[in-house]
């Protein structure tokens, strides 16, 4: 069932790579923002969201810290990973012990996909719930519902399980000229 599929995904898929499109709709659904990019991960705590449209933005979790490079605004922000990861989609997708961070619940299959709901165990994370979907055992979708009712849907394509990924995919070196600020 869906829980078994998620457990297999966590146990067997140690690295992953995919393209994604993301749609964020405001709570009343009146505003919709679309973006897209490439996602990579390496368990238990490394990930890379490289947005290329409508603007370039790179988010890299290197195991200790999460780097955010807004290429266009030439700024790099870095946060300690524990503060940033906790209840985020990155923890659900790339984490090592998913049931430690989330309460998991299988949902009925829909659109030919197996669905699960993951509710963050830490209360005030600002995330109401995450839903994750698998199609033929491969990761296919994640949906984030936040405390305001804003919905972010990430649909993956060209999913590769266990590709060989160089470690430096999850390291970030700030480019010269960008402001790097550690709060």
């Amino acid at each position: 069932d869906a829980l078994g599929t998620l457990q297999a995904f966590v146990d067997e898929v140690k690295t992953g790579r995919a393209s994604f499109t993301q749609t964020v709709s405001s709570p009343d659904g009146s505003k919709v923002k679309r973006s897209s990019g490439r996602f990579e991960f390496m368990r238990p705590d490394r990930f890379r969201f490289a947005y290329d449209a409508p603007f370039e933005q790179l988010i890299v979790g290197d195991g200790q810290q999460v780097w955010l490079h807004d290429v266009d605004l030439e700024q790099v922000t870095v946060r300690p990973m524990n503060q940033a990861l906790g209840a985020t989609p990155a923890a659900l997708l790339a984490g090592g012990k998913v049931d430690k961070d989330f309460k998991l619940e299988a949902l009925p299959d829909a659109e030919g996909q197996q669905w699960l709901r993951a509710t963050p165990r830490i209360g005030d994370s600002g995330i109401q719930s995450l839903k994750i979907a698998f199609r033929d055992k491969a990761l296919s979708e994640v949906e984030i519902l936040d405390a305001f009712g804003q919905r972010s849907r990430i649909v993956f394509s060209a999913v590769e399980s266990n590709p060989v990924l160089a470690a430096d995919r999850f390291r970030f070196t700030p480019p010269k000229g960008a402001d790097v600020l550690r709060p």
């Binding site: 919709v32 923002k33 603007f55 988010i59």
Partner: protein
């Protein structure tokens, strides 16, 4: 004097900003935002880079409050609210005008090459054509917001 006739509610603005401050507690924040309303009544939405909504700052005559995952928090004034929401006193009520490239009706302003100065801030419009506006507090320490405005989001499908 009679206030100007009420225009239709101004279009909302949205985009991303990168805030940097080098006060005692250096601060940096990179987020996307949506802004609606005017100096008197407005809504500033703060989103995380991955698209979830972090907070909403709201102001109207007689009330200023911040809504986040824990609920509503009232503040004395927008300056107090901005300090809590963004870690710095950014004049949120001036943004509906500044981000449209014009001084706020809230006070005097002085023209400068490529922009203007108001309320102790310098507003650089030299790259406004690309949708990029830079706000920097005149008095040190450095407090700067680089803003990239996006064309109004696609209407819901």
């Amino acid at each position: 004097c009679a206030s100007p006739p009420r225009l239709s509610a101004p279009q909302s603005l949205s985009g991303r900003f990168a805030l940097v401050s080098q006060g005692e507690v250096p601060q940096s924040l990179s987020a996307s935002f949506a802004l609606e309303g005017t100096a008197e009544q407005g809504l500033f939405v703060l989103n995380s880079p991955l698209g979830s909504r972090l907070a909403e700052a709201r102001w109207q005559p007689g009330r200023v409050w911040l809504r986040d995952a824990q609920g509503d928090h009232d503040y004395e004034d927008l300056d107090d609210l901005a300090r809590h929401a963004l870690g710095e006193s950014v004049p949120l009520e001036a943004l509906p005008d500044w981000l449209r490239g014009r001084p706020s009706p809230l006070g005097f302003s002085d023209a400068l090459p490529g922009g203007f100065q108001q309320m102790g801030w310098r507003i650089d419009l030299s790259r406004q054509a690309e949708g990029r506006i830079e706000l920097q507090r005149v008095a040190p320490p450095l407090l700067r917001l680089r803003v990239r405005l996006e064309a109004e989001g696609a209407a819901a499908p």
